[in-house]
Amino acid sequence: MGNLNLQVNLGGLAMKNPVTTASGTFGFGLEFAPFIDLNRLGAIVVKGTTLEPREGNPTPRMAETPAGMLNAIGLQNPGVEAFIRDYLPPLRQIDTPVIVNLSGNSVEDYGRLASILDGADGVAALEVNISCPNVKQGGIQFGTLPASAAAVTRAVRENTQKPVIVKLSPNVTDITEMARAVVDAGADALALINTLLGMDIDIRTRRPVLANIFGGLSGPAVKPVALRMIYQVYKAVNVPILGMGGIMNGQDAIAFMLAGATAIAVGTANFTNPRATLDILDGIEEYCDREGVRDVNELIGAAH
C-alpha cells in the first residue's frame, strides 16, 4: 500500500486523494473534527453559500425514504461575508483544500460571489450549484437549461482564477447536453449529481411531509442514476468529474471512479457514520491493494 498513488487532479485542483465531501452534508467541516482527522481528506466542500445570509425553509426539512432521504434546507447559510470572516480562518488551519459551493438568484449573483471568493485566502476552488431557481426567469432552475447554466458558468469563470467546478442537476432530459454547455462556457470540472427532485406524503395528515412540499432525494437510492449520468458525461466531455450520489463505502467509490469520476464526494453517508469519509478512503486503498492497482488514476473511466 506504500506504493499506491492516490493523488488526483480535479481540473487544476491537486488533491492528495479522491475523497471529498458533498456540499450541505458536511457543514463547514469542523463539525466532523471530533470524529476524523480532516487533514486526511482530499478536499472539503462546504455548505452552499450565497451573497446574503439566508434562513432557509420552514421545517420539516427532511424525510427518510427507502434507502434515501429528502431534504429541503433552502440554502440556510450565514452569507459569504460571514463565511469568509468566521468559518474560513479555522479551515485554513487544516492541510486540505477547501472548495466553496455557491448559489445565487441571478447570473450577477454568481459573478459577484465568484469575485468575492476569488480574493479569499484559503479557498482552493469554486463549486457552482446551478440547481437554484432563477428568480429573473420565474423560478426555472439554472441547471435545467443549457443556456442559463452556461451563462452562470461564464459569470463565475470571468470572475475567478480558481478552478471552477460546475455541479449539474440530474433533473434533466439529457445530462450530456448540460455538461457540454458548461464545459464550453469554461468549467474546469463537473460535479454530479445533485439531488433528484422528489416528495413524500403523510397519509395520516394527507399532506406533503416537507413544509416545502418538494425536496431533493439523495442517498443509496439514487446511486444507479448517478452512475449512469457520470458514465454518460465521461463519454461526452473531456474534463474531470467529481462523482457523488449515494456513495456509502469504498466499493461504491470505486464504481464511481470506474464510471468516470476522478474524485468522489461523500454526502448522505456522513449522516449514517461520521467517519464515512475516511472509511471510504480506507476502502479505496484496500481495493487497490487487493486488485493490484498502483495508481488510482488507472481506475478512472475503466468501465468504458
Binding site: 450541505g24 452534508t25 471530533p34 455548505k47 421545517t59 427518510e64 449522516f271 449514517t272
Partner: protein, 314 residues
C-alpha cells in the same frame, strides 16, 4: 470565528455492546449499553445518535436522549418508545449484539452549579436581544436578578417518553439535597415508566393521565395549576411533545418562572452540519430592523433552550 459551542467537541463514535434490553411497559424499552469513553463525557440532557441497522433500512441514525450514564461503569442507558421502523428494529436487538452510536451531542439542561455565583452565568432580560450570544441557551439565565441554586425549586415536567432525559438531572439536584418535583403526564397508566425511580431519589412524583387511569385526570398542565412553590423560584425542565412544551412554557412565563425546554426535530447529522433540525429562536433585533428571529439548530444549539428563547408561534 465559527461558534465553537455548536461543535460537539467531546463527541465520540462507539461500537456499543448491548448489556441489557428490558421492556418496561408494552412498547417502552430500556437499553443499557457499554460505551466507556462516551459515558465519561455525558452531561444531563444531551443525546446520542443511534444507528439501528448497518444497511439502508433505516438509513439514518435515530436521536435518543441519554437516560442515564455511569462514567465509572462505562455504561449508558436509553429509554425509548417504539414509534416506527427504527425504534422497532432497536427493540428487537438482543444482549451481546452491538450498535454504532455517537455522542454525547448537544447542550443539556442548566445544572445547579451554573446557577450560583459568577456573572458569566447571569443574564438579564434585556440581553435576550443579543443574537450573537443568545443561542445555545443553557448557559444563560433569562431573569432580572441573579439566582442561587438554593433559592430554586426544580420542577421536572415530562410528557410521555419525555421523561427519558430527566433522571441524570434529578440525580444532580438530589446530590444538592434539593426538594424536587416531577410532574408526569401520559395518555394512560400503561405509558408511565420509571416513575418509582424518581420517587426513590426523593423526588415528589405527581402523575396526570388523560384517561384517568393513574393520578389526576387530564394533562400535565393540570398539575401546574395551584402549585405550592413556597418561597422558591420554580425552574422548570420540560420535555415532551411540542404542544405540551408550548402550554407549559406559556404557564411558566405567565408566572415569571424559569423554564427550560428540550425540543425535538427531525435530524440527519446531529452535529450541526446538515441544518435539517432548525427551530425559530428570538433575536430581539426587530428594533434594529431585523426580523426578530433566526433558525437555530436543535441538535447543537439545543436540544435544551430557555423557553423564552423559542418563537412558539412560528
Amino acid at each position: 470565528m465559527q461558534k465553537t459551542s455548536s461543535i460537539n467537541s467531546s463527541a465520540v463514535l462507539a461500537d456499543a455492546a448491548i448489556l441489557s434490553q428490558e421492556e418496561l411497559k408494552p412498547g417502552f424499552f430500556r437499553l443499557v449499553l457499554s460505551a466507556p469513553e462516551l459515558a465519561r463525557r455525558c452531561q444531563p440532557g444531551q443525546f446520542v445518535q443511534v444507528r439501528v441497522s448497518d444497511g439502508v433500512a433505516p438509513l439514518l441514525p435515530r436521536p435518543i436522549s441519554i437516560h442515564g450514564f455511569d462514567g465509572e461503569q462505562g455504561t449508558l442507558s436509553l429509554l425509548y418508545h417504539v414509534a416506527g421502523q427504527g425504534t422497532g428494529k432497536l427493540s428487537r436487538l438482543a444482549v451481546g449484539e452491538s450498535l454504532k452510536i455517537w455522542g454525547p451531542l448537544g447542550n443539556g439542561w442548566i445544572m445547579p452549579e451554573n446557577l450560583t455565583g459568577g456573572s458569566k452565568n447571569l443574564v438579564s432580560d434585556s440581553e435576550v436581544s443579543d443574537s450573537q450570544n443568545f443561542v445555545g441557551g443553557s448557559e444563560k439565565i433569562p431573569t432580572d436578578a441573579p439566582v442561587d441554586a438554593d433559592k430554586i425549586l426544580p420542577l421536572f415536567v415530562a410528557g410521555g417518553i419525555g421523561v427519558a432525559p430527566l433522571p441524570p438531572l434529578a440525580k444532580a439536584w438530589r446530590d444538592l439535597g434539593a426538594e424536587a418535583i416531577l410532574l408526569y403526564g401520559a395518555r394512560s397508566a400503561d405509558q408511565i415508566v420509571t416513575a418509582d425511580e424518581f420517587t426513590a431519589m426523593g423526588v415528589d412524583v405527581r402523575i396526570a393521565t388523560e384517561d384517568g387511569s393513574e393520578g389526576v385526570t387530564g394533562r400535565v398542565t393540570e398539575l401546574l395549576k395551584d402549585l405550592n412553590t413556597g418561597d422558591k423560584l420554580p425552574l422548570l425542565y420540560v420535555c415532551g411533545p411540542k404542544p405540551m412544551l408550548k402550554a407549559v412554557a406559556q404557564l411558566a412565563d405567565d408566572q415569571g418562572w424559569l423554564c427550560q425546554v428540550s425540543l425535538e426535530e427531525r435530524m440527519c447529522c446531529g452535529l450541526g452540519a446538515c441544518l435539517s433540525c432548525v427551530c425559530k429562536t428570538k433575536t430581539g433585533d426587530e428594533k434594529v430592523g431585523g426580523k426578530g428571529w433566526t433558525h437555530a439548530k436543535v441538535c447543537t444549539d439545543g436540544p435544551v433552550f430557555w423557553s423564552r428563547e423559542v418563537v412558539w408561534n412560528g
